[in-house]
């Protein structure tokens, strides 16, 4: 969805591709999903304006006496080159720069930091106050975002298929969370461990958005990258955690290849063994657990998954089944063995064809 062209809210909520999609697939649930997605994407922008002012500027390295829970963001403008790091465009505590990508990255990394700190008491990527460096306007018409092991990098998109990658809050949450995985389990970026690495970034990314919007599991859209695709595309987002495989069906982008069940697990050498494809299976399991538990997904399901993400038993080569077993064990140790939480988690994995 293109916000710049979005003067009429009715038009915004029902762009042509969506109408076509509804006409094709037409279930009431899908209709509701699509409408909610577009509405919440607008909500983020208005919430952004209402974000409380940041604390005092702090450009230096944190001393031992400085409090935890203080974020230190620097946003760089790479100036449509690929020469990292680029020039400093906004530092912690500075007001809006007026550059949408710079300010969205600043706010998105801030919202992600706050989520980790307020909900799971995690102090940044390394749980030790690591400064957050976001780099925007990377490359020319660059349609990707990545974590390079030290920093988060965002392209402007090509304007034809993709809007700028900072437009969707969960993109910042997703990339920052790759850093969390790097400092915790170090899940290999290949095959099933790689799909779990992607999965955890999608879980955290979606939860950051749900937390900011105050949405329950039922209210959330469970989409990754809502608002990222332009109105030229037949699609609502990059991925759907609720219904993997349904986020887009477009003549140029192709069909959403994500499976929602182990029966449809994709064996491929591409994309590091399908890390962005098979993540649909654990994504769906997380959604099923959150939906079964009800309420805010970050409170119970999210806590179980976060406990698993930082669990020393989660190894770089852990696959789906062992990960599933760890979530069940963490549900039991957090909420009691044989309780409804453990039942919900086991049921969720069974729902995607994995017996923990």
């Amino acid at each position: 969805m293109n916000h710049a062209a979005c003067r009429n809210p009715v038009f915004c909520l029902t762009p042509p591709y969506l109408l076509r999609r509804i006409a094709r697939n037409g279930s009431p649930a899908q209709r509701e999903t699509a409408t909610r997605t577009l509405a919440s994407d607008g909500t983020f922008r208005s919430l952004r304006q209402a974000t409380p002012p940041s604390r005092a500027p702090d450009a230096g390295v944190r001393g031992v006496l400085e409090p935890e829970g203080r974020k230190r963001r620097t946003i760089f403008d790479v100036g449509n080159t690929q020469n990292l790091p680029g020039r400093v465009a906004r530092t912690e505590g500075e007001g809006p720069s007026g550059d949408a990508a710079v300010d969205e990255a600043y706010d998105g990394l801030g919202a992600t930091y706050d989520f980790f700190w307020e909900v799971y008491e995690r102090d940044s990527i390394d749980d030790d106050g690591l400064p957050l460096n976001g780099h925007v306007h990377f490359g020319v018409d660059y349609a990707n975002a990545f974590w390079d092991g030290e920093r988060m990098v965002f392209g402007d998109g090509d304007g034809e298929l993709f809007n700028r990658f900072t437009i969707s809050l969960d993109v910042m949450g997703h990339e920052l969370s790759h850093g969390v995985t790097q400092y915790e389990s170090g899940l290999n970026y290949m095959g099933q461990p790689g799909a779990l690495n992607e999965h955890l970034s999608d879980v955290y990314g979606s939860l950051v958005k749900q937390y900011l919007l105050g949405q329950t599991a039922e209210e959330a859209d469970w989409l990754i990258g809502a608002g990222l695709l332009t109105e030229n595309v037949d699609g609502v987002a990059l991925r759907s955690m609720r219904e993997p495989g349904t986020a887009f069906d477009d003549e140029v982008l192709g069909e959403d290849p994500q499976p929602a069940h182990m029966d449809d697990f994709v064996r491929t050498f591409e994309d590091n063994g399908g890390v962005h494809i098979n993540s649909g299976i654990p994504n769906r399991a997380f959604y099923l657990a959150a939906a079964a538990l009800g309420g805010n997904a970050w409170e119970v399901a999210g806590r179980i998954w976060n406990a698993t993400a930082i669990d020393p038993r989660l190894k770089p080569d852990t696959g789906f089944r062992r990960f599933a077993r760890l979530t069940a064990r963490n549900a039991a140790s957090l909420y009691g063995s044989g309780g409804r939480e453990e039942d919900a988690v086991r049921g969720a994995w069974e729902g995607v064809g994995i017996t923990p």
Binding site: Q82, L84, F138, V140, D141, A143, N144, A145, F146, W147, D148, G149, E150, V153, D158, E160, L161, F162, F165, V171, H174, E175, H178, G179, T181, Q182, Y183, G186, Y189, N197, E198, S201, G225, L228, N232, L238, F248, D250, E251, V252, L253, G254, E255, P257, E270, D271, N272, V275, H276, I277
Partner: protein, 126 residues
């Protein structure tokens, strides 16, 4: 000279965007063909390592470019993760990517009633 670009992975990983896009310089205009050949020469394509090397530890969502060049009896495939450090290789990938986008644009324009829009020398498998 025949060139092929495949792009895998990335945060926004789409089946329709990974290609491969294939360009035969014989199907291009003289200037455009010469430009591509020059870019290939600048990368020292047939001498360079096949790559892709190890991405930095912990890195995620990096796209992988797979470039194949065939010239006479010679053929070589080079792989590189983003960000591509070598400016010559980066420029070649960007040039091929620009071709891929033009082909995709033509394909989208070929919708119902739009009539066929072709581009010589380029094709994307359906």
């Amino acid at each position: 000279m025949r060139l092929k670009l495949k792009t895998e992975g990335g945060f926004a990983s789409f089946p329709g965007l990974q290609g491969p896009v294939e360009i035969d310089t014989e199907g291009l205009g003289e200037e455009e063909a010469a430009e591509l050949v020059r870019r290939v020469r600048e990368t020292r394509f047939f001498e360079r390592p096949e790559g892709p090397g190890e991405p930095p530890p912990g890195a995620a969502d990096l796209r992988l470019h797979v470039v194949t060049v065939e010239e006479g009896a010679r053929s070589r495939t080079v792989r590189a993760y983003e960000p591509v450090e070598d400016p010559a290789l980066r420029a070649l990938i960007e040039a091929l990517d620009a071709q891929a986008r033009e082909i995709r644009r033509a394909r989208r324009g070929r919708g119902p009633g739009g009539g066929p829009v072709g581009r010589p020398g380029g094709n994307v498998p359906p």
